[in-house]
Subunit: 663 residues, 2 copies
């Protein structure tokens, strides 16, 4: 925890070794000598059962002399262990505290460049009030109001009580000069003595897996820091439905999850503020996008109704409240604005995507796909918008895949299979070299090859299909006439060995291929359903939002049949559009009102009650989906395995992706 | 504490005896036998010095066997003592916990009957929502909004987050029928399952000495309970200025005072709710009137700027916030509305008086006087309103008077002195008999004669003047030709013995007369200043607000020269007008807006910078004041001492007072 990664290791393995093997983000500088104390962990010893985790003291080796020495010098807090000293003796859960995490760059939710007109929800005004006059007695609040009218033509009716308390002390401190922050041009939410020129806001993309914050200067619009962290709710359940189940099964489970996610917000805010060198107190606004269940849990609303039909949201509107009300410690009067959810399965993250991509302004038909645990899909143009959610599951994020992992340094992201020899070559995040490069082993020694991330999975399955390792039904097996040691019997089915090193063997199993087939079938069926509803033949543009979208090679997505027909030139990543939407809402207040007007017009398509969805889903299980014959694909797709210019194509593709697509 | 009463007792006196001697409100049923455990106190042992109270363990006798027995049976909490067992050995402060107070009826702030049009700030609406429909997905909040529009034509934009959390559980509990409370027809602040027909509000008159609450049914307007308590801030200083001094001298002193007064609000709310048999949760609104310093301290605003010129208020506007923000535990979203203060010395209590009496609607010139620690004075009619505050000090409330006490059972409230024999007779609160009645001693045995309250002081000084015991300059001395044992030498001056009993001798000293002279001169000078400013000769009507006003006999007020000339028929009590104003604001929302419009038009007269004020003050020291010759008074005033029908006159007077005066 909090990565949620789990696995089996031989008895006696150190926690640090296990962490490295599983790809868990645990810091270590001294190489396991017990010197650097970076690998501190908090074991939650226990035994797994249906009823949760029971405490068992003997699932971890006892304190070593090294640890006792560190404890005696207060360098190891009680309850903590050194990951390199503690040896695993049985089932257990291990927490990696914030400071022991390596904070590898989560490439996942990087900031997407976007030109936003800065018009924040709050503005700063500096005024100097006249000295009080006993012959014309007037409260300082009224004098302040008069000064705002005289200097800025701004009639402000109200002032938060917590700030009214600061008014007279502030006036006394700086010769009656003060700066106030006025929210929505109507209410004073902050008072400072003298001149104040900078305030900040935080845009947060709250995902089931990752929470990513962008700290922005509300005056200049600049992103001054970013921070992300794993969603600590993972300990209650890896995917959305298992978290809702946790709530249903555990009295107070929703409160526990609400608490941990808010604490994660506090951590993110502290980290971002520290990075930017500002005080937490200077953060006065926050916007949040999230899927419906994350959204409700963040707001402290029991998400149980979202766990079953009819999937009724408590609210599908923008909600504004004080951060303090949610237990988030920023400025005392900092606001939090959650963007609206669209339907039970279509969240405020999709509202963020719409705000970022504005399909409602487009002339052509735009298909926007945000792949997370569900795929949230929007289709339409300025005349009509449809939205649906398709149950892809987390396979595209590397979950449920035997060698899968999230997109982080060391994860395989690109794969090619030689159609003749069936030998693979790959690239990992953090290195530009392909694995068949003579320098690869040396250059990646420090990084290692830890697993395969979403884009890698797409590519390997597509390459397996293109090279004949799997057939159109997705079954792995030996390729007639091309014997290969890579294809190995694995119980009743076959696997493809992508990589083997002394530490680990990375295989693509039949189950992995099935998981990808199910996921891509769901995605394709959802998109096809919307195209059907819209009554069109083909979409004009496809945008992939989010981490998945920014890493996959769309050609492979097309080979696998993830998405419906479209000119490949018009298919690409739209960046972290949900996060960008949150930032737009943060920096551009009118857009919060706009999204509130757009969303009620979006038609929600509920895949679960659409009879056609099941048929489309089954049709789409094959590779590629049955409606797009392979022949046609081969015409439109430049298959990279057949050409040596794959690297260049990649570069072009990256350029295209970074191009802004706003109309 | 919390009465603030202090005195000297012989070493060895029990705390209970001392309490009884000082008139402190300490319960005892068993007569000091250590059986009833009602007289429990919390000693704050200590030694007084300039720097506060230092702890000293030996100022109270040790625990007795009786107390140890009660402790062992958990009938006496640690730290507590039995008042009848603990003996005083040195200086100390003793707290009387809430449950050990007798809760004698504080006649002070009774409810004044008043016909209020019930139009509260919040309204209840019951709706039944349709079942959710997957074919037309919509959040339950939006469904609720639709139902409010359909059923009540009420577009409600917003819902408090804490209540949004309750929406779906409430819908699930009662077949999708719910009741919501809508604040100002715009925001949902409460959600209940099923039908809810009653909600409550509390109107609070927060005085320096007493805090009085009226709990009202917000639907019917009925007062369902009242509760009052001493202002616990008394421990920080008896009067306003000493409390401000405390803040200036003690870091965090304002926070300490804010805390205790809010806790008193919590106590009052709990008591009132218990009396009415309702849940605290059912209280959703509160209005508060208070003088500026109490007002600021209640809101958590440092009142230091109000302690010296130019006496600048932080706010002179109506403030609305959540009760929870102030640490007051009612319904989670209960609002608190403080009425606006007028100027540094003229508080929201005067705003309450104006709201109750509406001088701004009157044709004739109305003088309204609210006597507390200061006298707040309003003069005017529908064309013009003036307001001022005069520094009367607390003498009229019985403070600074040697035998003075607050208006409570056992206090002398009526006094007559026989002009021939100079023998007094009196009546005490709680008995209808005069002290010269043969049955008086028997009937008042249980009540006792504990001291003299404000109205009694006015009467005894006026009667002393009328009988010649004091001269026009206020000097006490033997009356030539009418020798009396009542007039006794007391150091360099004389005193008048009003009553002596085995426990106590009640005297009126020269200092007492001086204190009353100063107070009445301040009051008179303030009123005269306003009359001057208004440019009129005489006022048409005088209304006394508050406890003082409802107990004094206006004839005596006129004899003493408290108030300017006016036809006595048009002088009377207007009841607890400040408290009534709070109740009006609670029950009639539009009046909150009205008072916000009236107040900025009120002209504030600052007595401290008016050169004439000092002259008027000196002029008014004599009895009666120099502009109202005694002869004229004798014509207009039926002197009760000269007539046997005093009792009847009293009755008439009471009737007149209870007549409502609203135009």
């Amino acid at each position: 925890m909090p990565s949620g990664l789990r696995g089996r290791v031989p008895v006696g393995t150190t926690v640090l070794q296990a962490a490295q093997r599983l790809g868990v983000d645990l810091e270590s500088i001294c190489g396991g000598q017990g010197k650097c104390r970076k690998c501190q962990v908090l074991p939650q010893e226990g035994e797994f059962s249906k009823h949760g985790i029971h405490s068992r003291a003997d699932h971890l080796s006892g304190l070593t002399e090294t640890e006792l020495l560190h404890q005696s010098k207060n360098r190891l807090k009680p309850g903590r262990r050194l990951g390199c000293n503690a040896r695993i003796l049985g089932d257990l859960v291990v927490d990696v505290p914030e400071e022991s995490q390596q904070h590898k760059q989560h490439i996942a939710k990087a900031v997407t460049a976007y030109d936003i007109q800065v018009q924040p929800a709050l503005h700063l005004f500096t005024v100097t009030l006249p000295e009080p006059d006993m012959h014309a007695p007037m409260s300082d609040k009224r004098r302040l109001q008069q000064a705002l009218v005289e200097n800025y033509d701004l009639p402000v009716m109200d002032c938060e009580m917590s700030q009214l308390r600061l008014l007279q002390p502030a006036l006394a401190r700086a010769g009656r000069q003060i700066t106030v922050a006025v929210y929505e041009f109507s209410k004073i939410i902050a008072v400072w003595p003298g001149v104040k020129t900078e305030v900040f806001g935080m845009a947060v993309d709250l995902g089931s897996t990752t929470i990513a914050a962008q700290l922005c200067n509300l005056i200049t619009g600049e992103v001054v820091a970013t921070a992300d962290t794993m969603n600590p709710q993972i300990r209650f359940g890896e995917d959305l439905m298992s978290r809702v189940s946790y709530v249903m099964m555990n009295e107070g489970g929703d409160r526990a999850m609400t608490e941990v996610v808010r604490e994660a917000f506090n951590q993110l805010a502290r980290r971002a503020a520290k990075t930017a060198g500002i005080a937490l107190d200077d953060i006065l606004d926050m916007t949040v996008v999230a899927n419906p269940i994350m959204h409700h849990l963040f707001l402290g609303i029991d998400p149980t109704p979202l766990g079953g039909a009819p999937f009724t949201l408590a609210t599908d509107q923008t909600q504004v409240m004080r951060a303090a009300e949610l237990g988030i410690a920023l400025h005392a009067e900092s606001r939090v604005c959650t963007l609206p959810c669209i339907a039970g399965h279509i969240g405020a993250d999709t509202a963020g995507v719409i705000l970022s991509e504005r399909p409602d302004l487009a002339e052509e038909y735009v298909l926007l796909v945000d792949v997370g645990t569900n795929a949230e899909i929007v289709l339409g143009n300025r005349h009509r918008l449809l939205a649906a959610s398709s149950p892809t599951g987390p396979a595209f994020e590397g979950a449920q895949i035997s060698a899968g992992q999230r997109a982080a340094i060391g994860a395989i992201e690109r794969v090619r299979i030689d159609p003749e020899t069936l030998e693979p070559r790959f690239r990992v995040i953090g290195s530009e070299l392909w694995s068949d490069d003579p320098e690869f082993a040396d250059k990646t020694a420090r990084i290692g090859v830890s697993g395969i991330c979403g884009s890698g999975i797409i590519e390997v399955v597509a390459e397996m299909y293109l090279s004949g390792v799997i057939d159109a039904d997705g079954v792995i097996g030996p390729v007639p006439g091309r014997p290969s040691e890579r294809i190995v019997q694995d119980g009743r089915t076959w696997s493809y060995v992508l990589h083997h090193s002394p530490e680990r063997e990375l295989k693509i199993t039949q189950n992995d291929v099935r998981a990808i087939q199910l996921a891509k079938a769901a995605l394709h069926a959802g998109a096809r359903l919307l195209i059907d509803h819209m009554g069109i033949e083909q979409v004009d543009r496809i945008g992939f939002a989010g981490a998945f979208g920014s890493h996959i090679d769309v050609k492979y997505a097309m080979v696998l049949g993830l998405i419906p027909d479209c000119n490949l030139d018009n298919v690409g990543s739209v960046g972290n559009a949900a996060g960008t939407g949150a930032r737009i809402a943060l920096l551009n207040f009118p857009s919060r009102l706009e999204i509130g007007e757009i969303l009620p017009k979006v038609e929600k398509i509920e895949t679960a009650i659409e009879p056609k969805f099941q048929q489309y889903f089954i049709d789409a299980m094959a590779i590629p989906h049955k409606t797009d014959p392979y022949a046609q694909l081969q015409r439109s797709v430049t298959l990279p395995a057949a050409k040596p210019k794959a690297a260049k194509a990649d570069g072009d593709d990256r350029k295209r992706r970074s191009r802004r697509r706003r109309a």
